[in-house]
């Protein structure tokens, strides 16, 4: 019950932060280097034992809401659904034999800094790259695109870390 409540809170919070704050920040002609996508955190942070059905449902709801607000029906939904399917592949990289206890949410404090950067970094980088590629729908300027996704991933990781320090209570 508590978990469901937390999910709703994170869903709305991340949505507002993404749509009304990050999308509105203007840093002049370099604005394309500051378009971090942080709403994938909602999918990535779900517990280890969350079923794939639930993940896909969350991803669809999240992607659809973002799409309605940004007027790009289907773009964010498709990329986020793919990320939800591939989440377990990214998890394999960090969880070798010494797994964590089940029932823990994945975040900066439960994973530790190294694993946070590897798991969230890789998956968010993948999300950015795929999103920019589908948005542009061609391979023109592929190097700029890669650089853009790298820079934006760094910003997204920093923002998410900040977000987590501010919100998640430490024990």
């Amino acid at each position: 019950m508590n978990n469901q409540f937390q999910n709703v809170f994170w869903f709305i919070g991340i949505l507002i932060f993404q749509l009304f704050i990050i999308d509105a920040i203007d840093i002049g002609v370099y604005s394309i280097y500051f378009t971090p996508i942080i709403f994938s955190f909602f999918i990535l942070k779900q517990r280890l034992e969350t079923s794939i059905f639930k993940l896909l449902l969350f991803a669809f709801l999240m992607g659809m809401t973002i799409d309605i607000f940004r007027n790009t029906l289907g773009l964010n939904t498709s990329v986020l659904l793919l990320l939800a399917i591939l989440r377990s592949k990214f998890l394999v990289i960090i969880s070798s034999k010494d797994e964590f206890e089940s029932g823990l949410e994945l975040n900066l404090f439960t994973l530790g800094l190294g694993r946070y950067i590897i798991y969230f970094g890789l998956s968010i980088l993948f999300h950015h790259f795929l999103f920019f590629l589908v948005e542009q729908f061609s391979f023109v300027n592929i190097l700029t695109l890669m650089f853009r996704s790298l820079v934006n991933t760094v910003f997204a990781l920093l923002l998410l870390a900040l977000f987590q320090y501010a919100i998640i209570p430490k024990k």
Partner: protein
């Protein structure tokens, strides 16, 4: 299911209510400047029709355009398919394929309309097309915004013949032929000119007049003759 629906548009409206205060000074300044310009035009009219002359059915004196003032409550400028949202809709007489201009230049064309809101396809959209004219020589060219190569302040004008004399900072404006925008609304200024020897054309980089990152107020252009113009294009 687009961003001009009631829920998302009213949320963006709320956001506009909060952040519009930060830009009040600049908006005020822009409006003042435009006011001054309009007054200037009004008082310095070259053509005056006195009482002795009777206006017959001359299309020069038809009231062609009506301007509906609108607030731009959300403006995207970071994406490939950007989108603006304004707070005037069907009930205010706005319908799709009308133009939206700002105090300095062109913003875009209305796309989707709901009861109280409308979404606009701006100049900085991958699939935006417009014919523009070079004011000094009256040469036409095609406006094009390419996402990877242009940022939200610049765009290209293509297919201008190579013999056209174009200097830096020359103004490109609307033609008025499409029935969407009136004549002589500024689009941008030339900041870079490149020759294409094979096709014998010029490719001109222009700086857009309007800054989409701080778009706040605009005017929807309603053309009373657009149906008549479109009849000619259909044939």
């Amino acid at each position: 299911m687009n961003s001009s629906n009631a829920v998302s548009a009213s949320l963006f409206n709320l956001k506009y209510g909060v952040i519009s205060y930060f830009k009040l000074r600049e908006v005020n300044q822009d409006l003042l400047e435009e006011n001054a310009l309009l007054k200037d035009q009004l008082l310095n009219q070259e053509l005056k029709v006195g009482k002795r002359y009777v206006k017959l059915k001359d299309s020069l004196y038809y009231k062609n355009y009506k301007f509906i003032e609108a607030k731009i409550i959300n403006s995207q400028f970071k994406f490939v398919e950007n989108n603006l949202l304004i707070n005037k809709g069907k009930l205010n007489g706005v319908s799709s394929k009308m133009g939206l201009i700002g105090t300095k230049g062109v913003y875009g064309i209305i796309d989707n309309v709901s009861d109280h809101y409308a979404s606009v396809r701006p100049l900085i959209h991958e699939k935006f097309g417009l014919t523009v004219v070079h004011q000094k020589t009256n040469t036409w060219g095609d406006f094009k915004w390419i996402p990877g190569k242009n940022n939200f302040r610049t765009a290209y004008v293509e297919n201008v013949p190579i013999y056209t004399e174009i200097n830096l900072m020359d103004i490109f404006s609307t033609t008025g032929s499409d029935g969407i925008f009136p004549e002589n609304i500024k689009v941008g200024r030339a900041i870079k000119i490149k020759e294409n020897k094979e096709q014998q054309t010029l490719k001109i980089t222009i700086e857009l007049e309007e800054d989409f990152s701080s778009a706040r107020v605009g005017f929807v252009v309603k053309n009373f003759m657009s149906e008549e113009i479109n009849e000619h294009y259909r044939k």
